[in-house]
């Protein structure tokens, strides 16, 4: 908190305590608050101790001179090499934490520091000399960060619900955020479900001074990274694709394995998690402990991942657990799950249970294959979107759609399909804009849709143009679906169990390095990835038809039919009731 305006009351110790307390499950190991002598600044933190388990890692932390202060959520994987550089430049340290490296890096490089970080992070540094805060969030938006700024006092926290717990922020709904949820199944950043709270956009940083927020800067763009990849294709053609993938992903993995506690892994029967586990085994010399979920409702069906995951675990020799989850457990967990759910979303139940299972095994950190589909182009959207755009741009497309007449999909295709952003809305949309009046009311829907400007919002994810169809779809999926849904849900659903999920395939450094290869090999990269371990994935695994990481929500929650096979529209209604 920073009471920066002259009319702002001093910061309130009770408020910072309440906000911090709400975060206790995210950081059960320690906590602390600090209030500046003039009561204009308050910092609070809860700690899940993973690197340097001593008390030296407790936050808020000061630098060795007792001047700069920081609260930091996440991990900086390259902190050791940054520390070596800083020491060479004369920096001194009082701990072995990545947190303290951030303080010294800020002192040495200022706002440019964020471009040197490899990791997932959101942090706030209070610089008393300049009387300003430096605020930053990681490039992909793996770690969340929300702000509420009333023009006098700046508040920020890792969750929306923590900000609300302070009791000083309006709970008035944001119609744009609600419209976004109905359209996409999650609230699109920077909107939240509340008018007074906004998400700090991924890959951005800014200062808060006595003049308010200033010097906001986007320091990383997924679309630009793909665009650059096209220019650097020559570098990708030098090395055998599976070998280059092994090198770069192993490097990312080794960074993601940095911890002073054991690191486990989620294992499905898909290529991404299996290849990661195989590469982690090669890198570490022994396999990580692995966890898979099983549901009786899926027994014998393609969605049942347990048998193949167990077979693969036996093959690599991992200490593996298949955790059965039943409807009774789901129903018993539902109140806790909704309490942990930071904003409405149709996803996250899968991560809730697999994180619970990992935590039961005593793990504090787990590796996940999340992001592999976005990186290696294995979603159906990679084939479908270019087709939709091409078809809708044909000269006779409108008349064909007209003849199909009554089909809402056909009408929508004619209306939206001619652009990448429209095609994405069609493909990923939960409901279409025309459905919203019946869900929100006509006036609220109109206002919400107008303020949301969904198509412009989607188009922003491919600005600048990544240059190829693959790059466009990859940028759309990573900047929208993955960021707003997968990563956000993974954060709340795992941290509720005091488990940190790490995603080696969601890594800005990896994307920069791998982008030229993606531009050359496109969706073939998935099979190259399957061949990247020294002992490539077996055919019975790499050749398996792709399935999502699903839970039998329709059966568990007895969702009514809604025109979709997954009944996610019905689940969305059930979820939204929690925010009524």
């Amino acid at each position: 908190m920073f009471a920066y305006g002259s009319a702002a009351p001093p910061v309130d110790a009770n408020e910072i305590d309440a906000i911090t307390e709400r975060m206790r499950p995210r950081g059960p190991d320690a906590g602390g608050t600090w209030i500046s002598p003039d009561s204009r600044v308050a910092l609070g933190s809860r700690r899940l101790a993973i690197i340097d388990l001593t008390d030296e890692g407790t936050q808020p932390m000061t630098d060795v001179d007792g001047e700069l202060r920081i609260v930091f959520n996440g991990e900086i994987y390259n902190y050791r090499e940054l520390r070596v550089r800083l020491q060479r430049l004369g920096a001194r340290f009082h701990s072995m934490t990545d947190t303290e490296v951030l303080l010294q890096l800020y002192r040495h490089d200022g706002a440019a520091m964020v471009e040197l970080l490899r990791g997932m992070f959101s942090f706030v540094i209070w610089d008393p000399r300049e009387r300003r805060m430096f605020v930053a969030r990681d490039p992909y938006g793996i770690k969340p960060l929300y702000i509420a700024d009333d023009g006098q006092t700046f508040r920020t926290a890792s969750t929306v619900k923590a900000l609300l717990a302070g009791g000083r922020i309006s709970r008035e709904h944001d119609l744009a955020g609600m419209a976004g949820f109905w359209l996409m199944g999650s609230v699109p950043e920077p909107h939240t479900i509340y008018q007074s709270i906004r998400a700090v956009e991924a890959g951005t940083s800014f200062f808060v001074s006595e003049r308010g927020i200033e010097n906001a800067r986007r320091y990383y763009s997924i679309a630009s990274t793909f665009r650059r990849g096209v220019q650097d294709e020559a570098a990708a053609r030098l090395v055998q694709p599976n070998v280059l993938l092994r090198e770069l992903v192993t490097d990312s993995l080794c960074n993601h394995l940095v911890a002073d506690v054991p690191v486990g892994a989620f294992l499905s029967s898909g290529i991404d998690s299996s290849a990661l586990v195989a590469l982690a085994t090669e890198a570490a010399g022994e396999p990580p402990r692995t966890v898979t979920l099983r549901f009786e409702e899926f027994a014998g069906a393609p969605l049942d991942e347990a048998p193949l995951a167990e077979r693969f675990a036996r093959r690599i020799g991992s200490d593996h657990v298949t955790r059965l989850v039943t409807r009774d457990e789901f129903l018993a967990d539902m109140p806790k799950l909704f309490d942990a759910m930071d904003q409405p979303t149709i996803d996250g139940t899968n991560t809730w249970f697999v994180s619970k299972a990992a935590a039961e095994r005593g793990l504090k950190v787990a590796i996940s294959g999340l992001g592999g589909d976005e990186l290696f182009g294995s979603y159906p959207s990679f084939a479908a979107l270019p087709r939709i755009v091409r078809a809708a741009r044909l000269p006779f497309a409108a008349s064909v759609a007209g003849r199909m007449g009554r089909s809402p999909k056909a009408k929508a295709a004619a209306r939206f399909g001619g652009t990448w952003e429209g095609a994405y809305l069609l493909k990923r949309g939960l409901f279409l804009p025309d459905d919203l009046p019946s869900l929100m009311g006509a006036d609220a829907a109109r206002e919400g849709l107008e303020r949301l400007s969904m198509l412009e919002h989607i188009a922003g994810a491919i600005e600048p143009d990544p240059g190829t169809a693959f790059g466009r779809v990859a940028a759309l999926e990573a900047s929208l679906y993955m960021r707003n849904q997968l990563l956000r849900d993974t954060d709340w659903a795992s941290m509720a169990h005091s488990l940190e999920v790490r995603t080696p395939l969601v890594d800005a450094t990896l994307l920069r390095q791998i982008a030229p290869l993606l531009m050359v090999e496109k969706s073939r990269c998935k099979q190259h990835f399957a061949k990247s371990p020294r002992n490539p994935l077996p055919e019975w695994l790499s050749g398996r038809q792709k399935t999502g990481f699903s839970v039998p929500l329709a059966e568990w929650a007895q969702l009514p039919a809604d025109g979709t096979s997954t009944r996610m529209r019905s689940w969305a209604r059930r979820v939204m009731e929690q925010w009524a």
Partner: protein
């Protein structure tokens, strides 16, 4: 003991592989148990350096492809060790032996060979000698070669270099008076856009105005880089030397305050050793053999060539070094160590060792 060296170029050759082969042949010949090293070169382009004692140099092999093959066939098979000094020469080496010792340098061994015969032949080799770990790993990655292998990195004759003041004639020629100089040396070829020239150019606008960038080398990509420098507004701070005489090389290095090459295609990066031998701080790439040339950061800074901020800050850090010095760790690459490693390789792989 007799050793046969079948290579692309060595004495009378130009560039990194030729230099490496000359050092290798000299080190082979200095092994006490070696009686003769027969060298069959594929090409000779320039004046031939003095041939070391015990070396028989079959110069006529370089007259053409047929002459080369004829020389290989005529040389006979009574050798204790046959060194095939390039993967592309495996079919030629097969004329003498099924089991040559194969040398690997860099990008030529980073992906499946175009020639299917060579792909097959490499599984029969007696061993693999790689200039760097990254080349060995990348080679094993695609070839699944599982035989013995050793590393033999470049050597540097530090006595040929040394710290020297900036050559006034070069400073004047390139208008570098009062400038702090960044240097990259290499071929400027469109097909090899992984040297890191673009990456350095792109951060130049964010560096102090007194920092100039010297691109030392010629090639068909110079016009594109010149246009890029104009577009970035730094044309007056970029010098393209074009091809330069070999005897100016040490002076060129000494012009530099920082040698920076954020590349992605170096098998090793001998240029880093040369720059270090001139006392110039170096910045190498984490993503290719450069990182081994600077011994994983011990001898110089490492950057991710895809991260402009990291390159920029590393340059700023390196420019802050006020005094040139030759790092003690450079001794790891001394010729004496190279020779010792070469002798150990002979002892391991020669038939009667």
């Amino acid at each position: 003991m007799r050793i046969l060296h079948i290579g692309t170029d060595s004495f009378g050759g130009y560039g990194g592989i030729a230099l490496y082969n000359r050092e290798l042949i000299a080190a082979l010949a200095s092994h006490p148990a070696v009686d003769e090293v027969v060298v069959i070169p594929r090409i000779i382009v320039g004046e031939r350096e003095p041939i070391p004692p015990k070396v028989t140099f079959v110069a006529e092999a370089a007259r053409g492809r047929l002459a080369f093959l004829r020389a290989v066939r005529r040389v006979g098979s009574r050798f204790d060790l046959v060194i095939c000094a390039h993967v592309n020469l495996l079919p030629a080496a097969r004329l003498v032996t099924k089991h040559p010792l194969l040398m690997l340098y860099g990008i030529e061994a980073w992906k499946l060979l175009r020639d299917p015969i060579s792909n097959r032949l490499l599984h029969g080799v007696r061993g693999v000698i790689s200039i760097s770990e990254i080349t060995r790993e990348r080679f094993i990655g695609w070839s699944h070669y599982d035989g013995p292998s050793q590393l033999l990195p470049n050597s540097i004759r530090t006595e040929w270099y040394g710290i020297r003041p900036k050559n006034r004639a070069l400073v004047s020629r390139y208008h570098l008076d009062g400038k702090r100089v960044l240097l990259t040396l290499g071929r400027v070829v469109a097909a090899e856009r992984y040297k890191g020239f673009d990456e350095v150019l792109e951060v130049l606008p964010d560096l102090d105005a007194d920092v100039s960038y010297v691109i030392a080398g010629g090639g068909n990509d110079v016009p594109r880089l010149q246009r890029k420098a104009v577009r970035l507004g730094v044309a007056d701070r970029v010098v393209f030397t074009g091809l330069f005489p070999e005897e100016e090389k040490a002076d060129l290095y000494s012009l530099a305050d920082v040698y920076v090459m954020p590349s992605r295609g170096e098998g090793f990066g001998f240029v880093f050793l040369e720059a270090l031998a001139c006392g110039v701080p170096v910045i190498a790439s984490r993503l290719d053999g450069g990182r081994e040339a600077v011994r994983e950061g011990e001898l110089g800074s490492l950057v991710d060539p895809t991260n402009p901020a990291e390159i920029r800050l590393a340059i700023i850090d390196a420019l802050a070094c006020v005094e040139k010095r030759i790092p003690a760790g450079l001794d790891y690459f001394s010729y004496a160590n190279f020779e010792r490693r070469t002798h150990a390789i002979i002892d391991q792989f020669a038939a009667n060792a």
